[in-house]
């Protein structure tokens, strides 16, 4: 009985594939791409448990169990890169997460359409500038003869290359992140704000609520679900700082505060060709990230009924 239903099902599928062969060809192209460029690398993480040798390849290299992971915890740099990753992320969330929300709230109060559009257009702009150019501008502005030094030297500060000071790296990194993304990230909040029923504001005004009370009782509740979903996503990437900007801006003088997990993986893996070891670090990083994401989602589901899945 079971055998026949399975048989029937299979023949339905095969006749369906024949009838709609083009659509299955489209799916096939996409699936092949995902297998090659996403799932083969995922399988490739097995070299974290091997001693990868270029000559032998992924399959034939010998297994070493969790040696690469234990080596990571004995690595003199491991604590430093974990700490830097977390600190940069946490400060970035602390300063960078509320910034676009505040911008959206302020823009929402602007009555003049033209002014609002102009502000929006111009603040979105830095988002589209390439990382290399942004870092090039940062390097130039922070150099000892650069604009920032020219400005602060008039207040009596000594001119120095700001990017070679480990104490300033996080500030430079995070403030330029905000500069680049504040406008763009405010789009989502502005959309959510425009979806709030104007009747709610009218009712609040009837009840004698001022601007501040309207903000607390109408606007913020209307934004909660958007904020929560974005916060969950952000929490899920707390351990993954994009290394592009880091590796363009850091130098051995600032490794103390600037070197993060991903930049270390890049250096050890691609510059020193320690493939297995750096894959192990990357895998450790991805797993922790996933745990953060699941955890944040669980918390959000429990307390705010917002969740990604």
């Amino acid at each position: 009985m079971k055998e026949t239903t399975r048989h029937i099902k299979r023949s339905i599928i095969s006749s369906d594939i024949k009838r709609n062969k083009y659509i299955y060809l489209m799916v096939l192209a996409v699936v092949v791409w995902y297998v090659i460029f996403c799932y083969v690398p995922m399988y490739g993480t097995v070299i974290a448990f091997k001693k990868y040798s270029v000559g032998l390849g992924i399959f034939k290299s010998s297994w070493v169990g969790i040696d690469n992971f234990t080596a990571f915890f004995r690595d003199v740099n491991s604590w430093r890169i974990i700490k830097n990753t977390l600190l940069i992320s946490i400060y970035d969330i602390l300063w960078g997460f509320p910034a676009p929300i505040i911008l959206a709230l302020l823009l929402n109060e602007v009555k003049n359409k033209f002014f609002k559009r102009t502000v929006q257009t111009l603040t979105y702009l830095p988002y589209f500038i390439s990382t290399v150019v942004v870092c090039g501008i940062i390097v130039d502005f922070t150099s000892s003869s650069g604009l920032i030094n020219q400005l602060i030297s008039s207040f009596g500060f000594e001119k120095t290359n700001l990017l070679s000071q480990s104490g300033l790296f996080r500030t430079i990194f995070i403030s330029t992140n905000i500069w680049q993304s504040i406008g763009w990230n405010s789009i989502i909040y502005l959309a959510a704000l425009s979806n709030i029923d104007p009747g709610l504001y009218e009712a609040a005004v009837m009840d004698g609520a001022g601007k501040w009370k309207q903000l607390i009782h109408v606007t913020l509740p209307g934004l909660t679900s958007t904020i929560m979903v974005l916060l969950i996503l952000r929490m899920g990437s707390i351990m993954s700082i994009g290394f592009e900007k880091i590796i363009l801006l850091y130098n051995p003088l600032t490794y103390e505060t600037a070197d993060v997990i991903s930049s270390y993986v890049y250096r050890r893996g691609l510059l020193n060709a320690d493939y297995s070891y750096s894959t192990a670090i990357g895998l450790f990083n991805s797993v922790i990230n996933l745990l953060f994401l699941v955890g944040a989602n669980w918390l959000s589901k429990k307390y705010t009924e917002n969740s990604l899945w």
């Binding site: 709609n20 489209m26 390439s130 130039d140 691609l270």
Partner: protein, 296 residues
């Protein structure tokens, strides 16, 4: 309802507008500074301290130096190639995926969608990715820049959501007339989704224009270098070889002066194409983000 504007509201509005104006200025001033500096006379620029409100003197020397640099020329040419071919391939694959996964008649659409979504949250990481691409024999070829980043999962899901909103009745009559899925996709679905297609083309094109990392790890032959890699050498690494080529015909004393000018000018030249398409399509961008975030 009579709107009463209290004094405190008036003050708030004024402060708000001043604050937003300053913020906007802060967002674009770094770019303005670079543009002014690129047009300035390098000698006057060196003496100048503080903010620039207009070019110091005026010269196009930086631009003529940069445009004569063969590396910039090759980089530009390669980037245009990457953008055109890469965006085309990306769009084809993304449209295929979005269309196929938005149709009800496809078996396995659900599991495939899950498989695709997983990649947004978990990846093999940098090193296995690098080894995979290298293992495919793509190392040091145009394909190494184009193929590995061909599909952006977020874009695919946004596009699928947008395709799903089109009424099914539109394609039914075409199907009865014997149209196949390619015809339906290219003749019916895509023409009806111009806004989202425009957004995606621009996302992919700008992404490709700005990308440098895959090129940096997969290319070692200069003839494949995109403009961003040349920029990295000039701006970040302060590469001598590249600089000297740019510096042809400039006396040794003024070299350091011109070096800075060349840096500003290369920034402008590499960014202008983006600024050029940006205002026209800004409204579509916003639409795309909103479709993606609220319904995706």
């Amino acid at each position: 309802m009579v709107t009463r504007i209290t004094i405190s509201e008036r003050v708030f509005n004024l402060v708000n507008i001043v604050f937003l104006s300053l913020l906007t200025l802060a967002c674009i001033y770094p770019l303005l500074y670079v543009v002014f500096a690129s047009l300035s006379d390098p000698g006057l620029l060196m003496q100048h301290e503080g903010l620039l409100l207009s070019p110091q003197g005026f010269t196009l020397k930086g631009y003529s130096l940069v445009l004569k640099n063969p590396n910039i020329g090759i980089g530009f040419y390669n980037t245009v190639f990457y953008v055109v071919v890469g965006t085309f391939i990306s769009m084809i694959l993304t449209c295929f995926g979005a269309y196929a996964l938005s149709r009800r008649q496809v078996y396995f659409a659900k599991p495939i969608l899950i498989v695709i979504t997983i990649t947004m949250f978990f990846s093999g990481g940098l090193i296995p990715f690098y080894l995979t691409v290298k293992g495919l024999g793509l190392y040091n070829s145009y394909w190494a820049v184009i193929l590995p980043s061909a599909i952006n999962t977020w874009n695919l899901i946004v596009m699928r959501t947008s395709f799903m909103e089109l009424p099914a009745s539109l394609e039914e009559s075409a199907r009865i007339d014997g149209a196949n899925d390619f015809t339906i996709l290219f003749r019916i679905i895509i023409p009806l989704s111009k806004a989202i297609i425009a957004v995606m083309v621009l996302f992919y094109a700008i992404g490709m224009w700005n990308s440098w990392f895959n090129a940096a790890i997969f290319l070692n032959d200069r003839k494949y270098y995109p403009i961003q890699l040349v920029l990295r050498e000039i701006l970040i690494q302060g590469d001598k070889g590249n600089m000297l080529q740019v510096m042809n015909g400039v006396s040794a004393q003024s070299e350091s002066m011109y070096r800075q000018l060349v840096q500003y000018t290369t920034i402008v030249i590499a960014t202008v194409p983006i600024l050029f398409v940006y205002p026209f399509l800004q409204k579509y961008f916003v639409k795309g983000v909103i479709v993606g975030s609220l319904k995706g």
